[in-house]
Symmetry: C2
Subunit: 389 residues, 2 copies
């Protein structure tokens, strides 16, 4: 994509180039907090064609800093889709065969209603007046989109990290509407350490005076420095010590000597700075607060007196879980806990732990074993149902 | 200690209540960067008595946010010594038997020359005009203090984390002056992941507009928010997932329900905020930059073409290394690498990996196995040398 075609994040947040569905006063979103969000809109992309009996729809759920541009060029960054290795024509999730839907989560900043959205009641950006949302709210909104598309049952719901939380929530709240659930590199709750890292990120954003108590859009400012720090810290947790050692080690920048100063001497430093600075051009700082908060609040077992198995009793959904050995944000143990609960609930479960040194980010990368696992699982069920190749 | 007796960090930085040695123009500190630091001063504490043949001195080296108040009440916080479980009368390092020295590192902020020190040449705080220093520079300055105290050879040098780096540097640079070296929870180099975490902390400080390009003291400001964020992030790396889970889990604050907001709902959040906010009252933001930088630069093998064993060839120092199973900042692997190098160099080495779920911070906590290991090692050698009990 040429640079000239790239749109600003602000444009995209309020008048997205994606498909859009708007829910008016008659269809409010009833939030976990008890408040109503109304009106609201969902921006989404689709790939492939819905078949005649509407049985080939796959919903992809995105992670914290992802969006609906799973398999198409991103309108703001100009980069290709974030999961195009998994989703596309001839890919493990083959868009020649399946109708793929991916929507920006509620609270996000790529066109679905979120804190950067103009509140029609005031004509100003919501900022912190946007209600705090949960993973359950994101999924409820997605269910309304799926209704809107005239689809009763999804063939599969697939996602990693925060996307995986949504997959679990779908299987929990809308069990009858999900044939296959594929939660990848995720957990049924956010751990204390994960909450801790999120809190540091939020404090970094809120410490930035340009955050203006959340009102930066109306005040024409941008808490870029705070958001960049938040992103840098989080980014470390997406990688692994082994991957950092392999990619960067203690390598210095091209001048190849230390400067005895505070510039980026080490390659890992300039890499992280780059991650921070590019992120702030495409992401809304308040969305970062809202989405990390939704992750913190997620705890499927808590709604069932701590018994995770009770979240899935009687389910007919078939599960395939994937974890990665070097993922320390959502370690295998978190997936195993879900597998045990699903077993206890009598559900059909496959589970694969993939050997990788790439850390949590592995789910977004070229991991042939993951692609093979997803493809095999999806393919076998599709064949059974007679969904044509 | 009563609150009224507590002094301000700024007072303590420039006119410490500790003992002080000043080195004038005739005794500059030749820095690793090539510059000279002159004049400079070292603030230090001692416990116990130096014996007649000056053979019972133990130097304790402090970690990043520690200082010389290893076994005495802290003049700023009013808290007891940071290693008083290890050092004191009747303790594993028994001050009835040993003469214990602990000095604030060069670059620190508790009385030794650092960026918060008033530069006598200008009458203003150094700020970023203070030269960037290395672990080697800290140790050179300590050696000048040890000279000043009339001690040729230290019975032992002991420290954890950044303190352990200094122990290794002592054994490397002043091998003949160190009988026993006890590096705890440390490494012979900072890893890419550790550099990454330090860099995020530095960026958090420097993103704070109250940092003023390092000139905040002269401008009467204080980058408290940025430094608090840095501390919060670093603090997570000092603990372990298991310890966080055991201490906090997903426990909520006393109202025991989530607020659907951005206040501290979870106990881990308020704990981290407390860690951040109390830290900024006792620590200088520029010192944080300088000391993290010194850690990043540390790489003993690099001076020997990557052969760590060559850093210790011919050494007569006896080593005892300690690591903790749940320490992911300086994992056991880093200690084992040092042990292998020492073995290859033909040195005398003991090594103990201690089972603990407390993470990196274990070295500061009540870890009887660590205390027993240090006591046993020190005691056996003292008995051999006829240092009285």
């Amino acid at each position: 994509m040429e640079q000239s075609k790239v749109r600003s994040a602000r444009d995209e947040a309020n008048s997205p180039t994606s498909k859009l569905v708007q829910f008016g006063a008659d269809k409010p979103l009833k939030l976990g907090s008890g408040s109503l969000l109304s009106p609201f809109q969902i921006a989404y992309q689709t790939e492939g064609e819905l078949n005649a009996d509407r049985s080939n729809a796959i919903l992809i759920c995105h992670a914290l800093t992802g969006d609906q541009h799973v398999a198409n060029v991103h309108p703001v960054t100009g980069k290709s889709g974030w999961w195009e290795m998994l989703v596309g024509p001839g890919r493990p999730i083959d868009t020649n065969r399946f109708f793929v839907i991916c929507s920006n989560v509620i609270g996000g900043c790529m066109g679905s209603s979120g804190p950067a959205t103009i509140d029609p009641a005031t004509g100003k950006a919501y900022g912190l007046n946007f209600p705090v949302i949960t993973i359950g709210d994101m999924v409820k909104a997605q269910a309304m989109l799926v209704d809107h598309l005239g689809i009763d049952q999804l063939f599969a719901v697939v996602g990693g990290s925060m996307g995986g939380m949504q997959v679990l929530e779908w299987a929990h709240s809308f069990s009858d509407r999900v044939r296959l659930a594929i939660p990848i590199a995720t957990g049924a709750r956010h751990t204390a350490q994960n909450i801790a890292f999120n809190e540091v990120g939020r404090q970094a954003v809120m410490a930035d005076p340009d955050w203006c108590g959340g009102d930066y859009i109306e005040q024409g400012r941008h808490p870029a420095k705070g958001l960049a720090v938040a992103r840098m810290g989080a980014h470390i947790t997406y990688l692994s010590e082994a991957a950092l050692h392999r990619k960067f080690g203690r390598n210095l920048q091209d001048r190849n000597e230390i400067t005895f100063g505070f510039d980026a001497d080490f390659q890992i430093e300039s890499y992280l700075r780059h991650q921070g600075f590019t992120f702030v051009d495409r992401f809304d700082a308040n969305s970062y607060l809202y989405l990390t908060r939704a992750m913190d609040y997620f705890d499927l077992a808590a709604e069932h007196n701590g018994r995770l198995a009770d979240a899935f009793r009687g389910t007919k959904t078939r599960f395939c879980l994937v974890s990665f050995t070097s993922d320390w944000l959502f370690p295998t143990e978190e997936s195993r806990m879900i597998v045990h609960a699903l077993n206890a609930a009598g559900a059909s479960v496959s589970f694969v732990e993939i050997e990788s040194d790439k850390g949590h980010d592995a789910f977004l990368l070229d991991e042939p074993e993951m692609h093979a696992a997803v493809h095999g699982f999806v393919n076998a069920a599709a064949r059974q149902m007679g969904i044509g190749e």
